[in-house]
Amino acid sequence: MSAKSDPKAYWSANVRLILISLAIWALVSFGFGIILRPALSGITIGGADLGFWFAQQGSILVFLVLIFFYAWRMNRLDQQFGVDEE
């Protein structure tokens, strides 16, 4: 692979992945759970609205997916750039 053993490219790929993940992290918790809750109030889920569900359940589930996704993606990036642990 052309990108092999280029620490700068590896680091910027990592930072890009972190930024995308943190954008989702903020969107589900601060966004759907708090700030955007009034905008989502039309969508009901079991006696409450979607924002309430995100605040008490949804964001936790998304956090879990995010961490495992990041770990999987980074471990592949490590190999692509040849910086993984032997």
């Binding site: 680091w11 006696g47 309430f52 605040a55 936790i60």
Partner: protein, 595 residues
């Protein structure tokens, strides 16, 4: 068998289990004390970290705060789980690559400064001691209930047990003891929740029951709950009432505080490989989420049960009679909790009934005048008793109550003991041996560790007598302090080569001091009552309450660090190389002790 004996049996059996495992695991290896996680599978490590992390705040206090406030306290749920995303993405893999054992060692090396290391130790001490106060509150309540004595004596007895537990020491370092503690606490939390969810909604999974249908009325559970609490004049459960800005800052403070707490970060220093540090954070959150997804259901369902118990004939009918509270076994929990001084009722209007309602609400005041009520008669209901009382409130079998007592103590004791160990090693290892008296013998280092542990617990008990809030709120203050001091230093240490020694020191000091000042202004100096100048009902800065200030403190930390670093000498090349090497996983050896 009476309830007291049953509780004793469960608590005794769980302690025997932890000690048994500690002895068994110890015989195999003696070097486990520091490197608790080395050679341990990420799943096992995740479970142990979850036990270390979930304390009295998560187990005993949090659901009670959600129950009585509703949606507004969702911050605890998002904050104390969202922090793991930051930990996994921003800190854990790099700190593992760095390969030392403590947070202050990383800060000392990265910022090539003994002062930075010392300041980091002080920040850790301030946050940890505040954290211990919250744990001691939980321990006091659990012992008070379990021994059926006043919470004050529960606190003193609990302090002695915690001290003995922490001095016994190595136990904390043995991963398998923590795995056992996790199993006890998650079982104890989940079983009553499943029972209650089945009773109320017919759904065995509490997280689904919360959004399910209330079997008795056929309405959605949350709609039913909203209706009952508003009938009694309380704020609607699912609606937002507080300031949005404050809620965002509070959630953010808890998140970045999680990623700045030494006893959690330390667990990721010692996993075998960098890739394991990433997985391990994920597994930890899996095990934490099992409790956190259940907690909001516990809170909502308990609130519904309590309201229905106080108004057995519906909110339009007659309230529960004093006679029924004193004789009906369904109300037995009220009698037992009254002994702790954390629950109280008073028949103010002498009608032989206990009216529970919001007497500050104008509509209810009109109704009260009509019916001859003279104020809310359930005069005291400490939020922190809710989870422990929950199985009794729902009339669950005695063994469930015993199990919950054991689980609550497991949560509070494991974290309190872990924090005391962190405090004592910070004082004896980092502060005394690392800085002040480097030639100290191993024996006097151990003595200093014990003395500082004893001192920390005495301070925590004294401050815990007048706690600055319910257990989870006290703990939230500790998170604010960690958020404002440690997290920014760690993050800048990894992601910016520009920040130098002076910048980091100035940033940490500014973040810590401004947050501490804001907390003391609102909660009283050193939490001494009546020394505060402001209250959280009417805070100094707009809507920002003292528990939410950690995020502001962190912003101050970042800003000061960048400004000071810009005015002082650039980071030397070898430190820049260090940062570069921390960023790539290749070449990570095993963690080593820096001394």
């Amino acid at each position: 068998m009476d309830q007291f004996t049953l509780n004793l049996l469960f608590v005794g059996a769980s302690f025997a289990l932890y000690i048994g495992i500690a002895i068994w695991a110890r015989a195999g290896s003696t070097s486990e004390f520091y490197a608790a996680g080395r050679g341990v599978h990420p799943v096992t490590n995740g479970m142990a970290t979850a036990a270390d992390w979930m304390s009295a705040a998560s187990f005993i206090s949090m659901a009670g705060l959600i129950a009585f406030t509703g949606y507004d306290n969702s911050s605890f749920l998002m904050g104390w789980t969202g922090g793991y995303v930051l930990l996994a993405l921003l800190l854990a893999p790099y700190l593992r690559k760095f390969g030392k054992f403590t947070v202050s060692e990383f800060i000392g090396d990265r910022f090539y400064s003994k002062t930075a290391r010392m300041v980091a130790v002080i920040c850790l001490l301030v946050a940890s001691i505040t954290y211990v106060i919250g744990q001691m509150q939980g321990v006091g309540i659990a012992f008070g209930r379990f021994l059926e004595i006043d919470a004050f004596w529960g606190l003193l007895i609990g302090a002695c047990v915690v001290f003995a537990y922490a001095v016994f020491g190595g136990m904390k370092g043995v991963t398998y003891t923590q795995v056992a503690q996790y199993c006890v606490l998650i079982t104890a939390y989940t079983i009553p929740a499943v029972f209650i969810s089945l009773q109320l909604t017919g759904n065995p999974i509490p997280a689904l029951g919360l959004f399910g249908e209330h079997s008795a009325s056929g309405e959605p559970l949350l709609v039913k709950l909203d209706q009952i609490v508003t009938d009694l004049g309380f704020a609607e459960y699912t609606a937002a009432h507080g300031s949005t800005i404050n809620m965002v800052l509070f959630t953010l403070s808890l998140m970045i505080g999680t990623a700045g707490l030494p006893h959690v970060i330390m667990r990721f220093f010692t996993v075998p490989r960098v890739s394991d540090a990433r997985w391990s954070a994920g597994w930890t959150l899996v095990f934490i989420a099992l409790l956190y997804l259940t907690a909001p259901a516990v809170g909502a369902m308990a609130r519904l049960n309590i309201s229905e118990l106080m108004w057995p004939n519906g909110t339009d009918g007659e309230a529960v009679s004093v006679e029924q509270i004193e004789t009906d076994p369904e109300y037995g929990w009220m009698e037992t909790w009254q002994k702790t001084g954390l629950l109280g009722w008073e028949d103010k209007n002498g009608d032989g009934r206990i009216q529970y309602y919001n007497d500050a609400n104008a509509d209810l005041q009109a109704r009260a005048a009509e019916k001859g009520w003279e104020g809310n008669e359930l005069v005291n209901f400490n939020r922190d008793i809710l989870v422990l009382a929950n199985p009794e409130i729902a009339s669950l079998p005695g063994w469930v109550i015993g199990l919950v007592a054991a689980g609550g103590l497991a949560a509070a004791l494991s974290t309190a003991a872990g924090l005391l160990l962190a405090i004592s090693s910070a004082v004896s290892h980092d502060l005394l041996k690392g800085q002040l008296t480097p030639n100290m013998s191993e024996k006097s280092e151990l003595m200093a560790a014990r003395i500082s542990m004893a001192a920390a617990i005495v301070v925590a008990v004294i401050l815990g007598l007048n706690p600055p809030g319910f257990a989870a709120q006290t703990v939230a203050l500790a998170f604010g302090l960690a958020a404002a001091s440690i997290f920014p230093a760690l993050m800048m240490g990894i992601f910016s080569t520009r920040i130098n020694n002076a910048g980091a020191v100035a940033g940490m000091l500014a973040g810590l001091l401004v947050t501490l000042l804001y907390i003391f202004l609102h909660k009283g100096w050193f939490f001494i009552p009546d020394t505060n100048s402001f209250t959280d009902a009417d805070p100094l800065l707009g809507p920002i309450q003292s528990t939410s200030f950690g995020a502001v403190g962190a912003a101050v930390n970042f800003a000061v660090a960048y400004i000071v670093a810009g005015m002082t000498k650039e980071t030397p090349q070898e430190i820049k190389d260090l940062v570069e090497s921390v960023r790539v996983p290749r070449g990570a050896g095993v963690a080593v002790d820096g001394h």
